[in-house]
Structure formats: C-alpha cells, structure tokens
Symmetry: none
DNA sequence: AATGAATGAGTCTTCATTCAT
DNA sequence: TATGAATGAAGACTCATTCAT
C-alpha cells in the first residue's frame, strides 16, 4: 500500500459527470458488499476520485446510499408510469404490478436487499425522500385498487392497507428465498399464484354483477375473457 | 498476563445462572442498540462479568446473538404448542396464528427487528439453527392449512407457499410501521382484516352457489370459468 | 463452549503420574504450536486436568516449557553417556557426535526448534538449568577434542570454542533447511561432509612430519613459521 | 467515526519522509522489545503518528518488521558490494566476510536477533523477499569459494553448502554469546580463529607439494608468507 | 475543483493466572 | 488434592471524515 504509484495530475470533469461516476461506483460497491462492508475508499477508487473529492459531492456515506437508492426508485417509477396506463382491467393491472416488482427483485437483487436491510430500519427513514418514494411506489397499488373499487370490480370494503402489506410483504418474503440463494425465481408463476389468492379476497363477489357495468352476462363474459387470457399465459409458460 | 492485584473476590455463580445472566444482558443490549452498535463490553458489564468471562460462555458476539434469538424462538414455539391445539376450526386457528404473531411483534419489537435485519441476510442463515426454527415456526401455518384442506374447509388447491409468504410477509410489513414508530398496532383489527382478505382467497367457495344460482346461462359460464382455472392450474403443474 | 459436558468426579492420581501426564501433554502441544501459540488450556485438557491443577504442579507456562526441554536434554545426555564411551578414536567419536546430533534434529525437529527460538533468547537463559545442560551437552565435544589433543591426534592449538561454535552452529543451520521443510536430511552424508571439513582444520598434520623431516633448512623454516604464529597470537593478546 | 474535534492540525509530511520516520521508529522499538512485545501503538507514537496513519503506510505489523529487516539487509549487501571487490586473495576475502559479518552482529545485535528468532521460523519465510536477500547474502561466500577453487587456492571438492552452514552457523553461535550478554565480541580474533580452522579444511593441501607444484621447500615458503600476512593483519588491527 | 495525508476513537477477542470451594 | 469460574489487561486493526495545500 505504501508502494502505490504516485498520482497523476488531477482530472477536471464536469460536475454532473463526476457525480454520476461516483454514484455508479457506489452502487456497484454497495451491491457487492452491502452497506456496512462497503468502504468509502473503495468507492472513491472505483470512481477514479480521491476520498476528499467524494465528500465534496456527497456529504456522507449514508447520503450516498440514499442517492443511489433514490435513483433506482425513480427509474422504477418512471417505468411504471410508462407501462401501467396501457393496461386495462383491474386484474391485469394488479398482475402487472406483482410481476414487475418480482422482475425487479430478481434482476436487482442486491439493491432490493439494501432497501430491506439498511434503509428501512434507519431512524429517520419515515422522514426521508426514500420513504416518500416508497409511498409513491406502493401508492400505485393503492390507485389500482381504488379504481377497481370504483369500477365495481372490487369489493367496496377492500382494506387497501392490508392488501398493500400482504402484497409487498408477500413479495418480499418470496424474494428472500431468492436473495438467500435457494431456488430460481419463476416470476410468472409467482405472480399468478399470488394474484389468484389475492383476487379471491378482494374481488367483488361475482354474484353481484347486477350493479356492475352492463348486464350480468357481459360481466361474466368479461371474466371468461380473462380466464382465457390466463390460459394463454399458462400455455405460453409451458413452452 | 494479569499481574495486577485482583480488585475484589470474583463472584462464583453456577454455570447456568451465569449463562442466563449473560443472555439476558445481551438480549437487552442488542434490543436497545441493534447488533452492530452493541458493544461486547457493555453486555459484559450489564451481566456483571468481565469480557473474558463472557467469552468463556459464548465464543463470539455473533453466537451470542444467535443464542438470544434461538431462545426467543423456542419460547414462542412452546407457546404455540400450548395454545394452538386447543383451538378448533381452521378460521379460528388461522386467526390465532395471525394474532399471536402480531402480539409478539408488538411486544418484542426489537427482537423481531433483529431477526429481520441481522440474521436473515447473513450468509450461513440457510444452514443455521435459527433457520430451522423459523421453518418450524412457519410450518405451523402450513399444518393448519393442510388440515383445513383435509377438512374440506379450504380449497383443495390452496397454494400453501404463497399463503405463507403473504401472511408472514404481510405481517412483517404491517409491523414495520410499528417498528418505525408510527402508530400503535391494533392487533385485533389487523388480524381480522388480514384474515378476511386471506379467507376469501383460500376458503372453499361454499357460500357462493346459493346466492349466485342465477340463470342457466350464467351457471354454464361459471362452470366454464372454473374449468379454465383448473386447466390453467393443470398446465402449470405439468411444467 | 458453553455446552460442554459436565465434569466427572475428580480423579486422584499419584503425584508423579500426574506430573508426567502434564509434561507429556505440554511437550505435544508445544511441539505442535510453538510456545506462544500453545495454550495452557489445551495442555491441561490433554493431560485430563483442569488449569488450576496444572498450576499446582508447575508454577507457570514458561517453567513448563523449561521442564519439557530439560527432560529432553537429559535423555539426550544419557544416550551419549551410554554410547560415546564405547567408541574409540577421535575421528570416530567426532563423527558420532555430529551424527547423533543430526539424528535428534531430524527426529525431534520441533523440540530443537523450541530450544533455538524460545529458550536461548530469553533473558535469564544464561543462569537457567537449561543453559547448564547445554554446556554439558556441548562439553561432550570439548572433551573429545581435548582427548584428541592429548592423544596427539589433533593439533595442540585446536581452538575448542570456535570448533564448538562451528559444529553446533553449522548443524543448526543445516537443520534449518530441514525445519523449514525444504529437503530431507541425509544425516550420514551431512555428518561425513562436515567431519571431513572439520578434520582438515583440526587434525595433526601427521602425514607431513614423517615425510617432511627434510633438510635442516626445511626444519628451520618450519620453526620460523611457528615463531610467526606465536608472534601473531601474542600481538593479538596484547590488544 | 471520529466525531471529536481535531486536537491539533495534523502535520503533513511528504510520503517518503513519513515512511522513513515510521520505519525508523519501528526499527527502534522492535530492537528494544522484540517483535512480540513491540506495540504498534508505541511505534506510532515514536513516529509522531497515530496508529491509523501507520496502517496507511504498512498493512500490518508483520510487514513492518519485514520492511525494517529488508532495509537492513540491503544496506549490508550494498556495503559488501562496495568493499569485497577491492580485496584480493581467497583467504583475505574469506576473512573479510567473516569479519564483516561479526562486525554487523556486534553492532546491530538486536536486528540480527530479529532475523534469527522472528523471521526465519515463520511459515512463509522460504517464499519471502527476506529469504531471497539472505540467499544473496550467503551467496557472496559461495562466490568467493568458487573463485578460490577456480584459482587453485581451494580444494576442488570443497563442499560449499557445508562450508556455508558452518560459517554462518558458527558465526551465529558465536554471536549468541554476545546477544545473551556475556562477554564482548572480539571480532578480529574470532575471525582469525575461525578462518584458520576453516582454511585447514578447504585449502588445497599444500603438504602435498610432492605432487603439487614445486619442492617441499617452496611449499614451506608459501606457508611462511601466509604467516607473515597474518602478522601484518594482526599488527594493523592493533593500531 | 481536486488532492490525499492524517485522524483517533472504537472493537472484538485472547489467555496466563488466581483462589474460593 | 482437584476444581473451574472468573479475571482484566492488552493488542492489532478499521474507517468515515476533515482540511491544508
């Protein structure tokens, strides 16, 4: 360590570029090591910056973590904003939410782990931007539920908070098995299973079609359509 | 190496008592500070023991944590073993499990936090005694579900794993609000809400037919729908 | 560690037997781990004794090491006492000493290492019994040399101390290669090589005189040579 | 982690200077206390540096020891490289090597002790830079021997390895008396004695003059010459 | 804007030795 | 005589953060 090469002349980069470099490096190191085991020194080194510089951009290691996670959340939300509006029907929308979340957990496992472990437990989480982002994120589900109720597809007394907890909590537990290495995560199947279970608890008792849009017959045909959809999806998975 | 005069005559306690003292102290300190911020020195001090003595009983700080948590799990399991058998009816049993878990989370919040944060993420969790205890714990729910199916109270195709994830995951998320300080935990209400939601997804749809007799066409469509469901399940299982 | 089996009733053994057990255990542990890394606890355990008991027999870990080494030295000396007297001729006796030492180093490598590393450097080595034993040990060589001189086999001016240093030092260096693992120790060959080298430096140049009686001139030159030697020695002593 | 106010403004030194300071301090402390009893804290304090800084320069206490010793070896080798080439004649060269080594042992006793005790016994010594340096060091003797053989001054069958062991081993033992405090080290006398002993074992048997070059008379004259050499050296040393 | 040397408190863990029972 | 619980001082190493240049 005492034999490291002497440094070269400092490289001046536009502020934004530097910031991005640091965030990228931080994300990588946090993912590989977890928050506690990540060293500021290593992050700085990977960003081709010395520690002092890093602290010019981010006031602390913790803030760095938060920024990383915020960026991740934001891109996630943007993705939902892009796709969700194009999906019709409460059931289909719910399935998308489940499925999309699972996909994220599967692909960005370590980031999800950071949220679960490092951030949520922190004292000032409830007042942090991350918490706000999380509210927006889970709020998507709340919105879909509310619309479902309004459209008469869901029971009027759906306990949104509990649903949200069971969905995101359930997804989290599901993914723990993935995080700890056992087993692949079959996101299509998990999404289907969870949806069916959930649907039974929140869908408007089908007998009620009377007050739903159109004739009962129409409602039932709609359900049939959806069943066909599922069938199709199932057979696709079987390939 | 200690050439200094002994300050006071050491207190000799039976091994078991000492062990218990240390565990008690450790539990308290871990709960107050979390694992990382807990100091072995403080634990020792509270147990009225010097650090060296502590290490005669537990080989490392980590092991100490594990023992604390194991003890907690075991008493929890013992409690279930005592009460669950006296409860009849799948719905009532499920409610008890939910309610009991919530009560624990409410009363032993910091311990639950330790399990969530410190233990589960560790590399060798899957092979640890704690994991085994956790399996036994969640297995209780699995048993109740299986009995419910056998008794004809639950649908035959209840996806036990998903239920387990949604229940314990949901309970965990629920309790996060509690852990992070916001709001009291109304365990009765939460248990009821969650149960209702869950029940709709797993109970045998006995109630439905009566009020949904409808027209022959509707009945036929309904049968068609159910057939599609079965088909989907079948094709999935075939994979 | 906290789950160790409870102890049985104390076993009362004759003092001598206990002492031997402890020494045996200590020897084994010291050999396996070296002095610093050997734990009193482990020694006690192997001797089937608790630490307190061990301290009833030996006042400290250091003393224990010394006793172990003393025992070893004594058996070594006894062995010499048994065999050396039966060997005739200075050259043969020297070879035996070399060879026997090498054999010990080869067979009791770790003990030799302990002497080299742990004991000799200690502050009070010069006043310790071990040092006395070592003097007796190296004194054997001194005796052989003196007898050789007396018998006219060796030069009168053999510098015994230097011989001793070169012999035992040389043997030690030789054995370091063995201790550090590289190469086998071919004790016969090494003994022969070293002896030949040594012999050239100490043996009375017997061959020369007979056939070198020579002319008066030669005799005179020889006397001159010897005078020079004496002069040299004298001037040195004068410093 | 250091939330306390900085006591005084840190002193900024060029990296090389700091490194040298630390090495100097380490050398002193290691010499005074030996490796095991030397505290990193004390080394740091003497170098006017906090422990953390020390670890920025050297990754461990062990590495620090190695660097200290390497520096010492290197300066030693440099010294040989400077003087040895100017000395002619195998006997004179051998004497220089002996004498120079003894001078080092006498003057840098504790460093020599460190090499003997701490380094050589270590598991990875055979692969360490120190071992390589040691090979170069003892290789000097090997070179002189080889040249002596080539020049016809030494017997063709000189067992270089054994000579090396006896020389350096003998010197080491010699110096142990010095290390352990008894007696001054008369390096001239020791060098002479050892050389004479050694010479008898390795020099081309001049007594063989019959079959060697020239008449017996010539051989004796040659010896006389050598005696004169020694005399001269002795008188020089007396100044 | 960038550097990078310096900080320094804090942590877990080890182990020879003692002594009341 | 034997136990073994208790001691307690010591020690190497880490790392987020600062600030003079």
């Amino acid at each position: 360590m005492s034999r490291a090469a002497r440094a070269r002349a400092p490289v001046r980069l536009p502020r934004e570029r530097r910031e991005r470099d640091i965030l990228t490096a931080a994300r990588a190191v946090f993912c590989e090591r977890g928050y506690a085991d990540a060293g500021v020194a290593e992050i700085a080194a990977r960003a081709r910056v010395v520690e002092g510089t890093l602290y010019k951009y981010f006031e602390s290691k913790r803030v760095l973590l938060e920024r990383v996670l915020e960026g991740w959340y934001e891109s996630l939300l943007a993705d939902y904003a892009e796709h969700l509006p194009g999906i019709r029907g409460t059931r289909a929308r719910l399935r998308y939410i489940l499925w999309r979340h699972l996909r994220t957990v599967r692909d960005d496992t370590p980031l999800a782990r950071l949220v679960f472990l490092e951030v949520r437990a922190h004292d000032d989480y409830p007042t942090s931007p991350l918490h706000a982002l999380n509210r927006r994120y889970t709020g998507l589900l709340g919105g879909v539920l509310a619309e479902g109720v309004a459209a008469g597809e869901l029971r009027a007394d759906v306990p949104a908070r509990v649903v949200r907890d069971m969905v995101y909590g359930g997804l989290e537990h599901l993914s723990w098995r993935h995080l700890t290495g056992r087993g692949r995560l079959d996101i299509d199947r998990e999404a289907d299973d969870m949806l069916r279970l959930l649907w039974g608890g929140i869908a408007r008792p089908e007998a009620a079609p009377p007050q739903a849009a159109g004739t009962p017959l129409e409602a039932q045909l709609r359900r049939l359509e959806q069943a066909a959809d599922r069938l199709e999806a199932a057979s696709r998975d079987a390939r």
